[in-house]
């Protein structure tokens, strides 16, 4: 299908289904039930899942294939966001130009950073990218305030010039749209006690992510992708084979920078604000963690990792003490309090702690990330089925 082999086609179809039916899949618990707290099927979080998915897919093209660990990738996302907001301020609220300019500007910026940083490898490369990103962040937060609006973040205002559009509609800023279709519009579907929300912005992001994912698969399976894996494996041999590694790594760097810009542009399209913290080293670190957590070098891993982290950030941080008391209300008072006391440090303001513990557990027990967890489960399941039918038939699981 679409030039993919059977296994990749299958994976792609699965991802298509997951994203298209996400409003159902992420809302498994009925409204009003105690577990509804764990529902993630609301537009903002679904958008974040796919947007950070794009970011991580792009990062994985660089890190997963070439092994170059960039610690400053958030800078491209940030730069893309700023470009996107400016496009909305100056040109039109249609999201297409904003997204395009985000990709272009992030691409150009990554050419500059990549050209310089790729002169070094290993940790020296990481520190160079980190340095560029931190400089971008610091400057955006302070002296570049006229362009970036500093601490507050660049946002739309009622007196933006907006050449191909209007500055305001009845005292409000017009919403971001795709040829008139507002990103904020949603349709809701009620089935029994369940309520599902289908949001225009989410589906736009999801389609973009599917395209991005498809492109990533193609890159992984292309000669170019093979060269990038060769870079990771043995640069010296590649040089003595007549290939110039620099343009390959630079191309990978720029492609992944453009993915970051695309993610930044989409973020702006969903929510027209660009904050400087997007470029901070913690944000760069986050995408590294997403990729490693999901499984670096695998196709689906980064998306899983992105979902995992964003889920924690948005769902666990919102559980508070009174919700805990509700959950354990059926227990005797003393036990209820004891349980709340034990769980409390890990939720709400303690969500960082839980995340830290999860990082450690995953990396200790699943060296290949969440994908490896999935593979192990699959193998376990398959082996059990195999031993039932045909004992002794060992299957070699081709690596993703």
């Amino acid at each position: 299908m679409l030039g993919l082999n059977r296994k990749d086609s299958l994976l792609f179809v699965v991802v298509i289904c997951l994203t298209m039916f996400a409003p159902f899949l992420l809302n498994p618990f009925p409204e009003g039930s105690e577990l509804a707290q764990f529902n993630a099927g609301y537009p903002d979080l679904m958008q974040r899942f796919v947007i950070f998915g794009i970011f991580a897919i792009g990062f994985n093209i660089l890190f997963g294939l070439t092994g170059y660990l960039s610690f400053g990738h958030a800078a491209f996302l940030g730069v893309g966001s700023y470009a996107g907001v400016w496009m909305m301020k100056l040109l039109t609220m249609n999201v297409i130009p904003a997204i395009l300019i985000s990709v272009v500007v992030a691409g150009l910026f990554s050419v500059l950073v990549g050209y310089i940083s790729l002169r070094r490898s290993g940790i020296y490369f990481s520190i160079l990218t980190l340095a560029f990103a931190q400089m971008s962040f610091s400057l955006a937060y302070s002296v570049l305030t006229p362009i970036t609006n500093g601490e507050t973040g660049l946002q739309l205002s009622l007196n933006d010039p907006r050449i191909l559009g209007v500055s305001e509609v009845d005292g409000s800023i017009p919403p971001a749209n795709l040829f008139g279709l507002s990103m904020r519009d949603s349709t809701e579907l009620a089935m029994g006690n369940w309520l599902f929300t289908f949001n225009v912005g989410y589906y736009l992001s999801a389609v973009v992510m599917l395209i991005a994912f498809y492109v990533a698969i193609r890159i992984f399976r292309s000669p170019f992708g093979m060269m990038l894996r060769a870079v990771k494996s043995n640069q010296q041999r590649l040089n003595y084979t007549g290939l110039n590694t620099k343009p390959y790594t630079l191309a990978a760097f720029v492609i992944s920078g453009m993915y970051a810009g695309l993610a930044g542009g989409l973020m702006v399209a969903m929510d027209p604000l660009a904050g400087a913290e997007r470029m901070q080293w913690t944000a760069s670190g986050e995408v590294v963690l997403m990729t490693i957590l999901g499984g670096a070098g695998t196709l689906i891993g980064p998306i899983l990792g992105a979902g995992f982290i964003k889920y924690f950030e948005n769902i666990f941080s919102k559980i508070n003490e009174s919700i805990l008391h509700q959950w354990f209300a059926f227990l005797p008072d003393g036990l209820e309090d004891a349980l709340v006391f034990m769980v409390y440090p890990f939720i709400g303001k303690g969500w960082h702690l839980t995340l830290g513990i999860m990082f450690m557990l995953v990396v200790i027990f699943l060296p290949g990330g969440l994908v490896e967890g999935g593979q192990r489960l699959g193998r376990l399941f398959r082996r059990r089925r195999k031993t039932d039918t045909k004992p002794g038939a060992g299957a070699t699981e081709p690596a993703e």
Binding site: I127, Q134, S138, A296, P345, L353, G356, I357, M360
Partner: protein, 343 residues
């Protein structure tokens, strides 16, 4: 001129902190080959040893003072530290006053224990794993450590003043025959600087003049070979890790009076320390120390109003800018060796 001299002095204590953290970081990297993102957290734990010691010394019982009222209008309960009531106001007060230096005594065993536990329990299993995994697991650990501290001590900075004896500042200006008060420098920062020199000197002497240190240096130069010599390198690695933890911890204890400790101070220092280590050259101890001081002093220079007026924002980015320039002109940092962490 005196302005420059002042900034050099300022750079020295900042540089001391960078150098001490970077020293431990590069020691761990050089011997164990582990990228330790939890090293900043060790620095933070050290600072909280000082906070804890202060809390222990000021453990109090309550005395109700009927003449005054608290915010709700009830009789005021006044806390009287046990130490003060046992030893009398002057001696007890003096002991409390010296909480930070006293906590050095506590910090050493605590940090040795933390170092041991970390290395045996976690880091050991990651020697052979890719650097990315090491980063992830130590980063997770750093988050866990700082969240635990936050749970018990809150997010706000906690004041841990230096003993009164060191409270004032030293008038260099008057000493050098310049106008009095033009160059002054707090005593505690001087203490910190000399303390850092002593620790750095101690670590170097240890590596230089003991057989243990010799093996470790050999290990840093060529890990494989030393492993082949049949020396029990594992045990030495553990000890090395504990030493690095102690260095970071002591740096943290002594830093507490300079800026009130808070739970995220480790992360604040972590990134800069990494830059310092890399600029110094991965795995090079003298490089780390030199880079610490160089970057500390440059950072101070860059924050001078004259410089900022000329290059707006330079004070925000100087360290990164210098790091880029150094790495582009000297591929492996100031004193790095070839082939270390380049793939």
């Amino acid at each position: 001129m005196d302005a420059l001299l002042l900034q050099v002095l300022n750079g020295l204590d900042k540089g001391s902190a960078y150098a001490l953290i970077a020293l431990g970081l590069t020691l761990i990297f050089g011997t164990l080959g582990v990228v330790n993102f939890a090293h900043g957290a060790l620095f933070m734990l050290g600072a909280f040893c000082a906070v804890t010691m202060q809390r222990i010394l000021t453990l109090s019982y309550e005395v109700v003072d009927e003449t005054r009222t608290d915010f709700l209008g009830n009789p005021l309960k006044v806390d009287v530290p046990y130490v003060q009531s046992w030893f009398g106001d002057s001696v007890g007060g003096g002991i409390i006053d010296w909480a930070v230096p006293i906590s050095l005594l506590m910090a050493v065993p605590v940090m040795i224990f933390v170092g041991f536990a970390m290395e045996r329990g976690l880091i050991k299993h990651f020697y052979k794993r890719p650097h990315a995994d090491q980063i992830l697991v130590t980063f997770g650990l750093a988050i866990v450590l700082q969240e635990i501290i936050k749970y018990f001590y809150g997010a706000n900075p906690i004041p841990t003043p230096a003993p009164d004896a060191f409270a004032g500042s030293f008038d260099f200006g008057a000493m050098l025959g310049m106008q009095a008060g033009s160059i002054i420098y707090p005593y505690w920062r001087l203490v910190y600087f000399f303390f850092a020199l002593a620790i750095i000197g101690g670590v170097f002497a240890f590596l230089q003049f003991t057989t243990f240190g010799m093996v470790v240096r050999a290990g840093m130069a060529d890990r494989e070979t030393v492993g082949l010599l049949g020396i029990d390198i594992d045990r030495r690695f553990t000890i090395m890790f504990a030493i690095a933890a102690v260095v970071a911890g002591l740096a943290g204890v002594m830093y507490a009076p300079i800026n009130s400790p808070n739970y995220h101070m480790g992360m604040d220092f972590l990134v800069l320390s990494f830059v310092v280590v890399v600029v110094g050259g991965m795995g090079s101890l003298p490089g780390a120390v030199a880079a610490g001081f160089v970057l500390g002093i440059l950072e101070s220079f860059a924050s001078m109003a004259e410089v900022v007026a000329f290059l707006p924002g330079i004070n925000q980015i100087i360290i990164y800018l210098v790091a880029i320039i150094i790495l582009l002109t000297r591929p492996r940092g100031l004193m790095g060796r070839k082939g270390v962490m380049e793939d």
